[in-house]
Subunit: 216 residues, 2 copies
């Protein structure tokens, strides 16, 4: 393709409380809506041809804010851009999970590629979905098109592992702050990639986002 | 360690003209000095313990601007943070090199790990130096120290390959704009790394820096 803008959805109350969300459809909170407006403003300058978003409302609402300033861009909902299905972890706090699933939680933090979420997905499942989504998007666009993907923390981390051919245990090496912007180039045959910038948050007032996410 | 801030030096006249600089000591131009002031301002908020810089004046002058706001930080000159020695390419424009060294130039763009600069260094040489510098810095600092490295395009790209265990042919996948900020964490045993942000240029007025560098 083209140039690829990766955006993580804005903040929700569950992000603030530190509850695992996964496939649960938790809406943006007031701060999340404000972040979505800010990322939309920041992306106004780019000639975005298409926006691909997860169907979950926190992503979809963020994508719609971006789409507002790009009336000629097409908006597509892709199931494959959904967050990891955290299964029985969903709705719980990290401290609760650490207590109920001590070994699994430890593995998630240290060897995430080996973890199967109870009644949910593995990271391999997410990787395969993310790869499908990216490959589909690549096939639809020409060189120099700029496309925007609005998705979720785990899904975007998996996309970075795919783009850099990194093992999934590099999952924790990437950070995606709510409504951050990452800008990449991928050649159509996928042999050549450029990271222009990763997890830029200046439009949200932070040069570096150190805020600790509680549910990861 | 600690947290690692990577900064590329400010702009020089040779950057503007597109002349390969390598070990040549070309000073910051007016825009470069302004960029150095801006990156220094942007980094004021961080409690930087030490600044490590290449001895070349374009890096050293940038480092001194940063040091100005951190009177308690120590400033160290590390030879290993110098730019790649481009040998006989130095002082020449990309178009001249493409004419004089067509195959080598093509290899540099497509298989950079295989290139030996005429009477200069290979990327492997730069990688080894960069690795030495980073390992030395890691050994000197404790967890949670914030240290700043001021260096050059090829050297910073080699550092990223080292940090992510990527083959040197991923060299071109990284971008370091003049006076950009990248913020990383590396655990003291080097088993765990986090990229907080890469090539942030908002403090220079650009969310994404698309400017084509001519001498790469």
């Amino acid at each position: 393709m083209p140039y690829l803008i990766l955006v993580r959805h804005g903040k929700t109350n569950w992000n603030v409380e530190g509850r695992y969300q996964g496939k649960m459809d938790i809406p943006l909170n007031e701060e999340g809506l404000s972040q979505a407006n800010k990322v939309a403003q920041a992306l106004r300058e780019f000639d975005i041809k298409a926006i691909y978003t997860s169907p979950l409302s926190r992503a979809l609402e963020t994508a719609k804010k971006i789409a507002f300033y790009h009336p000629n861009a097409t908006l597509h909902i892709l199931e494959d851009l959904k967050e990891i299905d955290h299964g029985k972890w969903e709705g719980k706090l990290a401290v609760e999970i650490e207590k109920e699933y001590p070994q699994l939680y430890k593995n998630w933090k240290t060897n995430p590629s080996q973890v199967q979420m109870p009644e949910g997905e593995s990271l391999g499942d997410v990787f395969n979905r993310a790869k499908n989504a990216l490959d589909e998007i690549l096939s639809l666009h020409k060189e120099k098109d700029i496309v925007c993907l609005v998705s979720h923390d785990a899904t975007l981390k998996a996309i970075m592992c795919y783009i850099l051919n990194l093992p999934l245990d590099y999952f924790w090496s990437f950070k995606f702050s709510n409504c951050s912007i990452s800008f990449l180039y991928i050649s159509k045959d996928k042999s050549f990639k450029i990271i222009y910038t990763l997890n830029t948050t200046c439009h949200l007032g932070k040069i570096v986002d150190f805020e600790i996410q509680k549910a990861l």
